[in-house]
């Protein structure tokens, strides 16, 4: 893991402005800090030597005002930049995933973790760690450079001792790495215990076992405390050691300055300036170490998100237009490309698909042409019916072969319903007016139900709202499919859970859709089959043939 990954700025240009702004503030803050050392020196010397104090006093006030403004800017810009970078990355991440097929995305749990906690952990990284990094890199150099002009022996001492800090820190980290690792593991296990028991409290309580855990929690919490203190002792010790190292280094400067001063070999203002400037070379480096602890998660998350956003090198062969060999073509219903129905906008050619990691392919060398009208797909479970729909919808990419298809609307077996209003759910994927919604609700036979709701289209659905039956859900999602203007509608078991009456209504609806669009339905219902213009029957692998009955 790197302290800063420059790919962030090259790949996500929207992050440049916030990062540059923070860096600029850090640099100006450094300059103001050095300037303050001069102003303070002049003030002290003026007071001591009884000279005029208004000029150095004014400088001091002016520079402090600048620093105050910079501190305000640092807080405001830091908060803005942290959120700006993390939200831009989150939006980019989600947008990238939305453009990809299912196999090129991380699985849901990992995706959620990266998009939620992962992106949130970038906030402190940007808001606090990056400014610390800027001043850690800039201020020591500035301080040494200034010292060089003011008093070169002091500059030499500082230049020689400053590198000791990171070396020393790395040394401590290296020697304690193993034991720290081990301790953190046992620590997270111990602290995870309480969370686990708390989350399970309702379950424990319902079997009368909640009280038994009180003692366990006390015991585990005690062990958690001891283990944490061991880890912390080490962390605090190394922090103290680094501070001591810095103090000794500054003392070294002070001693040489003091001796030269006492010998009359140095004016007071130079000496004062040297001892005020010297510490500025050390604390920024210590701060980088201190902030790093809180920012480590963010640095890891930035690496993850950049890898995720990087253009994927497809692990599956890209969609090719090469014709499959003739042996496979024997199974194809389409004998010759020239004989293609010109109305067929959907063409599947020699498509093979296997799930990542699976030994056998679900579909192999499948070729199809789908005209406008209703195509019904049947076949035993495991024959790849749902996979075929997902391939047509572009949710998955074939391992070989090509799919040429227009934009589609796929109603899966578990269609997405947000916990929002009836309107919110119906207008997902389209922007229909209320009148259009009511017309469509009438067609699927839900008008009465929604009209009976006190809040009509504004009635909330889901956990906190009205619970739809499977049949109502199916009709609602069918209505949504009809509202979409996608030229192809794909339906996975659209009427499996419906009673005869609702199924008949839905079938009528599907038939009407098929008059103008390409509709592909996977079903077990014989009634729907009788309405089909085309019937595709999938059989189980390894035969992986395709029998087609056109009605």
């Amino acid at each position: 893991m790197r302290p800063f990954d420059p790919r962030l700025l090259t790949q996500v240009p929207a992050t440049r402005r916030p990062v540059v702004a923070l860096g600029a503030i850090g640099v100006v803050q450094g300059l103001a800090t050095i300037g303050l050392a001069f102003a303070l020196t002049n003030l002290v010397v003026a007071v001591v030597e009884g000279r005029e104090v208004v000029t150095p006093g004014s400088w001091l006030v002016g520079l402090f005002t600048v620093r105050a403004l910079l501190a305000v800017a640092n807080e405001l810009v830091g908060s803005w930049a942290g959120l700006r970078v993390s939200t831009v990355l989150r939006e980019r991440l989600i947008a990238a995933w939305m453009e990809r097929d299912a196999d090129s995305r991380p699985e849901a749990g990992r995706a959620q973790a990266l998009a939620t906690q992962g992106m949130t952990s970038i906030e402190p990284y940007v808001a606090r760690y990056l400014p610390a990094l800027v001043s850690g890199a800039f201020l020591p150099l500035l301080a040494i450079g200034t010292l060089l002009l003011v008093d070169w022996p002091s500059a030499l001492i500082v230049a020689l001792t400053v590198p000791l800090l990171p070396v020393f820190a790395a040394l401590i980290g290296h020697t304690t790495e193993k034991s720290t690792q081990r301790r953190w593991q046992s620590l997270s296990a111990l602290s995870g215990h309480f969370l686990d028991v708390m989350r399970g409290l309702p379950t424990l309580s319902s079997y009368g076992r909640a009280e038994a855990q009180v003692e366990t929690i006390a015991t585990v919490s005690r062990r958690h405390r001891l283990a944490t203190m061991q880890t912390l002792r080490l962390a605090f010790m190394s922090a103290a050691a680094l501070e001591l190292l810095a103090t000794i280094s500054v003392a070294l400067v002070a001693v040489t300055v003091g001796i030269r001063l006492a010998n009359g070999a140095m004016p007071l203002d130079t000496a004062m300036l040297a001892i005020l400037l010297a510490p500025e070379a050390y604390w920024p480096i210590r701060r980088v170490g201190a902030e790093f602890h809180a920012a480590a998660d963010g640095a890891v998350a930035i690496g993850d998100v950049i890898n995720e956003l990087a253009p994927t090198t497809p692990t599956v062969p890209t969609v090719t237009h090469s014709r499959p060999n003739t042996a496979d073509r024997a199974f194809s219903p389409v004998q010759d490309a020239e004989m293609r129905d010109p109305r067929c906008s959907v063409v599947v050619e020699g498509v093979t698909y296997g799930y990542p990691g699976a030994a056998t392919d679900v579909l192999s060398h499948l070729s199809l042409e789908l005209p406008i009208g209703l195509t019904v797909v049947t076949g035993p479970s495991g024959a790849g019916k749902s996979t075929l729909l997902e391939l047509l919808a572009g949710l998955r990419r074939p391992s070989a072969g090509t799919v040429t298809a227009p934009r589609s609307h796929l109603v899966t077996q578990r269609p997405f319903l947000a916990s929002g209003t009836v309107r919110d759910n119906l207008t997902l994927g389209n922007d229909s007016t209320d009148d259009e919604l009511w017309d469509m609700l009438r067609e699927v036979g839900l008008e009465g139900m929604v009209a009976a709701f006190e809040q009509g289209l504004d009635t909330r659905l889901g956990d906190d709202g009205f619970g739809l039956s499977a049949g109502q859900r199916a009709r609602l999602t069918l209505a949504r499919a009809a509202l979409s203007n996608a030229p192809m509608v794909l339906l996975d078991e659209p009427t499996a859970h419906l009673d005869e009456e609702s199924a008949a209504l839905a079938h009528h609806m599907i038939q009407r859709l098929a008059a103008l669009r390409t509709v592909v339905a996977v079903t077990h219902r014989p009634e729907l089959l009788t309405l089909a213009d085309k019937h595709v029957q999938l059989v189980l692998h390894p035969t992986t043939a395709l029998a087609e009955v056109s009605s």
Partner: protein, 590 residues
């Protein structure tokens, strides 16, 4: 000049959800249910916090003294005295330089140790206090997330000791020392330092108020971003399928805009405090110069003058940690308010019953399984979701489903039956007993309750099932899993009952989780199953399959299921729709 001290979080390691629990939850023997007396930080704890504050004060004061005495030393050295005269000052500077890291280290050890001790106490206490409130006072849905919130709030409250109490105490101690030293050197200088300390306190309060003002909005905005992100990232394929990618992204953009607004507002607090503290330092330095200038060369020597002029700068450095403390204070106060609201609730049942079940005259398995409810009414305190009056009779072995839209009292009824909630009127008999007269633990033992989020502990499969009845043998556990439809799933587990599940262990699907909950119910051998929307979050096919296995495996037991979905009830003997007036004798939806 600025020493940024960032402290390590109290709970190093955080509350990682992935972490497996060390102790198997159920290997512990059943201890008598004695909850420890609620105690926060005791006298010992308060003393330890004061100690830590004192140690921190010495460390902070050493830092201030280091800067100030260095100034004295330099000016004194420039007067070219005999080197021996400088020795005291050199020793002092060296001592202060060493003292700062040493005392800081000591303070950190002390403050973290006392915080962790306090955390252990508070965790135990909070858990014990939650037991009588479980489950009726934990809300209807998302109890696990609610309880996760309690865990986080406890950490925040304890964190405040390390991040707020100790730094503030340290600052006060250091300020008092600074005022005394300055006043001894020059009374007017003492006044300047005192004024600085007072203005700092005012700035702290102002910044804290600004932070608190937007705390709630910010938390809500963060929660909304997390909700939308999890929804969109978890349903990418489903959203693509219906062409709603653009809308999904616009939800996120909206949530982000709200978050940016709220966070921007909150940062005003810190920004104001950070800026004002620097202006105060400038004002302090000028005031100090003005205050001592008339006396320099007469009552105040040149080295002392340097010391005093540098003092406000050193104080300003010491105060620069306060904005962090301010933010931690705002957060921990909000957490404390939430914790109190949660833990100070009254239990939903009065455990006044004393009768025990007569195992001789009741069912063979030793417990009654006939339920009779007459004229029953119930209400959650402060909510409108009432139920009844309602009559209901469930015979042994009968399978009953209760449906109706949300808010019509299904869950209320179930809570009353399970003895999680006291009825407000009417009668409730379990077998031959008045259920309310039975000892609470005994009455509850009649029921196995299954909801839509059965928790899987980070432990072995065996431990997870045995928690329902510790004496169960392995073959019995396997039989229960087979009945619950987990036969094939279990056969695939290489480590069998020793397979670790739960967070950090083997992942299970929603359907498997519901079935494990069912297997747990079966293992418990409790005669009545109360099911609270057990398949609410499963897809239709899985839900049907689980319900099928459920009705098959519970033959002979009484089952009462509530569901807001009116389907999938084929295997039930009786279905009551609470929303229809003829639901029972005269029951109606409340």
């Amino acid at each position: 000049m600025t020493t940024a001290e960032t402290r390590t979080v109290t709970t190093a390691g955080g509350e990682s959800r992935q972490a497996p629990a060390v102790d198997s939850v159920v290997t512990q023997t059943v201890a008598p249910g004695i909850a420890p007396a609620p105690e926060g930080t005791g006298i010992r704890g308060i003393r330890a916090v004061l100690d830590a504050g004192l140690l921190g004060g010495v460390a902070t004061a050493s830092g201030i003294a280091l800067t100030a005495t260095s100034g004295w030393l330099i000016v004194r050295a420039s007067e070219r005295p005999v080197i021996l005269l400088l020795m005291t000052a050199i020793v002092a500077v060296r001592t202060f330089g060493m003292a700062r890291p040493v005392f800081r280290y000591w303070e950190r050890l002390r403050s973290h140790d006392v915080a962790l001790t306090d955390l252990a106490d508070r965790r135990t206490t909070a858990y014990a206090r939650l037991i009588p409130l479980t489950p009726a006072r934990l809300g209807r849905r998302g109890r696990a997330d609610l309880l996760t919130g309690v865990v986080d709030d406890l950490s925040d409250v304890v964190d405040a000791q390390v991040r707020v109490t100790v730094p503030i105490l340290s600052t006060i101690v250091a300020s008092v020392l600074a005022v005394i030293v300055a006043a001894l050197l020059s009374p007017s200088a003492g006044l300047v330092v005192a004024a600085m300390a007072i203005v700092t306190a005012a700035i702290f309060v102002l910044g804290w108020q600004l932070e608190t003002r937007s705390q709630q909005t910010l938390l809500a905005a963060r929660a909304e971003v997390a909700r939308v992100t999890a929804l969109v990232a978890g349903n990418a394929s489903e959203l693509q399928a219906i062409g709603a990618e653009g809308q999904a992204q616009s939800w996120l953009v909206t949530a982000h805009a709200d978050l940016r607004w709220a966070a921007g507002r909150q940062s005003h607090g810190r920004a104001a405090a950070a800026g004002l503290l620097l202006l105060l330092t400038a004002a302090g330095t000028i005031a100090m110069t003005a205050a001592i200038l008339p006396g320099v060369g007469t009552t105040i020597s040149a080295p002392v003058a340097a010391l005093l002029v540098l003092m406000p700068i050193a104080l300003g450095d010491a105060f620069s940690t306060l904005p962090d403390a301010m933010r931690a204070l705002a957060r921990s106060r909000a957490s404390a308010v939430r914790l109190h609201a949660m833990l100070d609730q009254q239990p939903a049942v009065r455990a006044t019953g004393v009768l025990s079940l007569d195992t001789q005259t009741d069912t063979p398995s030793g417990m009654p399984s006939r339920l009779l409810v007459t004229d029953l009414t119930a209400a959650w305190a402060g909510t409108a979701s009432d139920v009844g009056p309602l009559d209901l009779e469930v015979q042994r072995g009968q399978h009953l489903a209760i449906t109706g839209p949300n808010g019509c009292g299904k869950s209320t009824l179930l809570a009353v039956l399970a003895r999680h909630l006291d009825p407000t009127g009417g009668g409730y008999r379990l077998g031959n007993h008045d259920a309310l007269q039975l000892e609470l633990g005994q009455a509850r033992q009649v029921f196995a309750v299954l909801d839509d989020e059965p928790h899987l502990f980070a432990s072995t499969l065996r431990a997870n099932l045995q928690l329902a009845r510790p004496v169960t043998t392995d073959p019995e556990l396997i039989e229960a899993m087979t009945s619950a439809g987990l036969g094939r799933w279990f056969a695939d587990l290489a480590q069998g009952l020793d397979t670790v599940i739960g967070s950090g262990g083997r992942g299970v699907s929603g359907g498997e989780r519901a079935r494990l909950g069912l297997a747990r119910c079966l293992v418990s051998e409790r005669p009545v199953l109360l099911l609270d929307e057990p398949v609410a979050h499963l897809d239709h096919t899985t839900a049907e399959a689980v319900l099928g296995d459920l009705t098959r495996s519970t033959t002979g037991r009484s089952v009462i299921m509530v569901s807001h979905r009116p389907d999938g009830l084929a295997g039930f003997d009786r279905v009551i729709d609470l929303s229809s007036p003829q639901a029972s004798g005269h029951g109606e939806c409340g």
